[in-house]
């Protein structure tokens, strides 16, 4: 997964796109497609639905190109837009007709997928299994916050923006999640004192 920060390049392409350059738009969506798809498939196993949402998103972005704002965080802007779109597509309740919270599907079920050979240190594989269990036991929102922080290097403000929640709750999600992870490592250590997060 590409998590390279291409801020400068992104901005250039973004501004080109906003002034109607279809080539730049193509390059822009090409760059971000893998991450958007990855994020999208965290909410549903239906990958065609995600592709579909992305197509709609791209078309809307294009139609509205002149009114789209300047942003320095193109990737996060796109992730947020995709999340909104998915909420509308799959979050609508069949019964009440209202929009419900999007469910971040637990990605941490099962055993860690790292090849056993890579984990050479004694006891580490076991510890990783424990951590995996702890991750699977986190709330969806905690999992999503960790995922965005870990896979997309998103800062608290950006996570808040993508998930449409306030900064404090992101902070709490991450803080609580890490607390649980630390707890599950078993041995208490002085380094598990809560040092300033992030």
């Amino acid at each position: 997964m590409s998590v390279v920060n291409l801020l400068g390049e992104d901005l250039l392409l973004w501004n080109e796109y906003r002034s109607g350059n279809a080539g730049a738009f193509g390059a822009l969506i090409r760059v971000h497609y893998p991450d958007l798809f990855h994020y999208g498939t965290r909410f549903t196993r239906d990958s065609d639905l995600v592709k579909d949402c992305l197509q709609d998103l791209f078309l809307e972005l294009w139609i509205n190109r002149e009114t789209i704002s300047e942003t320095s965080f193109v990737k996060y802007y796109l992730l947020k837009a995709l999340r909104r779109k998915l909420t509308r597509r799959i979050g609508r309740s069949r019964y009440t007709g209202s929009w419900e919270e999007l469910h971040f599907e637990s990605i941490f079920n099962g055993t860690p997928s790292v090849e056993a050979g890579l984990i050479r240190e004694e006891g580490l594989a076991e510890l990783a299994r424990k951590m995996r269990q702890a991750l699977a036991g986190l709330s969806k929102r905690q999992q999503e916050a960790i995922y965005l922080r870990y896979y997309f290097d998103a800062e608290i403000d950006e996570i808040a923006e993508i998930m449409s929640v306030n900064r404090q709750s992101v902070y709490n999600h991450l803080h609580d999640a890490l607390k649980k992870l630390k707890k599950s490592s078993g041995k208490p250590s002085r380094f598990f004192l809560f040092l300033p997060l992030l």
Binding site: T41, Q55, A128, L135
Partner: protein, 366 residues
């Protein structure tokens, strides 16, 4: 490097993660050393490693081809967007490039920016290298810088339109070496190249070297993530990687490069060092005018030949199989792929886009 005091400092450090997941990473020495110097943090390190292993996901990722297909689809749909004002070529900026694309002279549009980020090391090295080749050959150089988009005349009569913040380097003594005209580009530019078969025009960019063979063409390169996209809309354009130009020339005494014909585009991925050749989402006829053609008992070979001529896109088919096919069909003025559909339907065949070419399969008409 900042201090790593807590579990989260390590887990969310990209450098640490790279080292944990890839022993061969360039950060290896740093982390081995850091761990030696901080024995009291052994426990945190172990936990951080466990978390990283635990976070590792084994999700299916899309292949480059699948992604390209999706992007291609999206670009086709742009054409259908209600407010889309169809213009010639890929570039939809209203009016702006219309004159350019209709220009009797040839234009190259090149967009290039510096890539920032990890993985940029090799990229940076290559970038420095191409630049060096250029600078070694040409000294002193002149630099054109654009604060806002504007056109600059070049010594050979060509014109470069530089976009905001772009730079173009060209040799002081252009006239002395008449066998090639070379420029180095940083940023975005369109070139209106005066055709001169005796002195091909080369655009050096950080990632790829573009050589203009023909006289009428439009090229766009949009690099991102170490990638360059070059689109050819009308004419022949050759692309070379740095090593192609250094390698011994091929059988025809020409360096091995990739030649684009109109309506083809390539995506060059510097880090994978791969070139993906594609067709543009909505090919445009070379003459700019779309025509309705009525065929009556015309050999299929001729129909495909005409289409190939009209769009410049190579069409491959088995001549032996289709030789007997006579076609009576009206090819309407409609999008290229619809035309192909129409012809293929008439011969009971199908087409595929392979490596930027059209490959038609059909059982024949006997």
């Amino acid at each position: 490097m900042s201090e790593f005091n807590s579990l989260e400092d390590l887990v969310f450090s990209r450098s640490f993660r790279n080292w944990v997941l890839n022993r061969e990473s360039s950060e290896h020495a740093f982390w081995e050393n850091w761990i030696k110097r901080n024995p009291e943090r052994a426990e945190i390190v172990k936990n951080a490693k466990a978390v990283i292993y635990a976070l590792h996901l084994n999700t299916a990722e899309l292949s480059a081809d699948e992604i390209d297909d999706e992007v291609g689809k999206a670009l086709i749909r742009l054409k259908e967007a209600p407010r889309y004002i169809p213009l010639e070529g890929l570039d939809g900026r209203r009016g702006r490039w219309r004159g350019v694309l209709r220009s009797p002279r040839s234009w190259v549009l090149v967009v290039l920016t510096a890539a920032i980020g990890t993985g940029g090391f090799f990229y940076y090295r290559a970038q420095a290298h191409v630049r060096q080749i250029f600078l070694n050959r040409h000294r002193p150089v002149q630099v054109l810088t654009a604060d806002t988009g504007r056109e600059f005349p070049l010594p050979d009569g060509s014109v470069a339109r530089l976009e905001k913040g772009s730079k173009l380097y060209f040799p002081d003594q252009w006239g002395s070496d008449r066998t090639r005209r070379e420029v180095f580009l940083e940023g975005i530019a369109s070139f209106d190249i005066r055709g001169n078969p005796a002195a091909p025009f080369y655009v050096y960019t950080d990632q790829i070297i573009i050589k203009v063979l023909g006289t009428r063409f439009v090229v766009s390169t949009f690099p991102a993530d170490g990638r360059t996209v070059v689109v050819d809309l009308s004419g022949k354009v050759a692309l070379y990687r740095e090593q192609d130009l250094e390698a011994p020339p091929g059988p025809r005494n020409e360096p091995e490069g990739v030649v684009l014909t109109p309506n083809q585009w390539v995506l060059y991925d510097r880090r994978e060092d791969r070139i993906y050749k594609k067709l543009v989402a909505a090919p445009e006829p070379l003459g700019g005018l779309d025509t309705i053609i009525r065929y009556e008992r015309t050999p299929v070979r001729e129909v495909f030949g005409r289409l190939q001529e009209e769009y410049g896109i190579p069409i491959q088919f088995d001549e032996r199989v289709l030789d007997s096919c006579l076609l009576t069909v009206v090819v309407e003025a409609e999008p290229y792929y619809k035309k192909l559909d129409q012809i293929c339907k008439a011969i009971g065949g199908a087409y595929e886009v392979i490596d930027g070419n059209i490959e038609v399969t059909a059982v024949g008409c006997k």
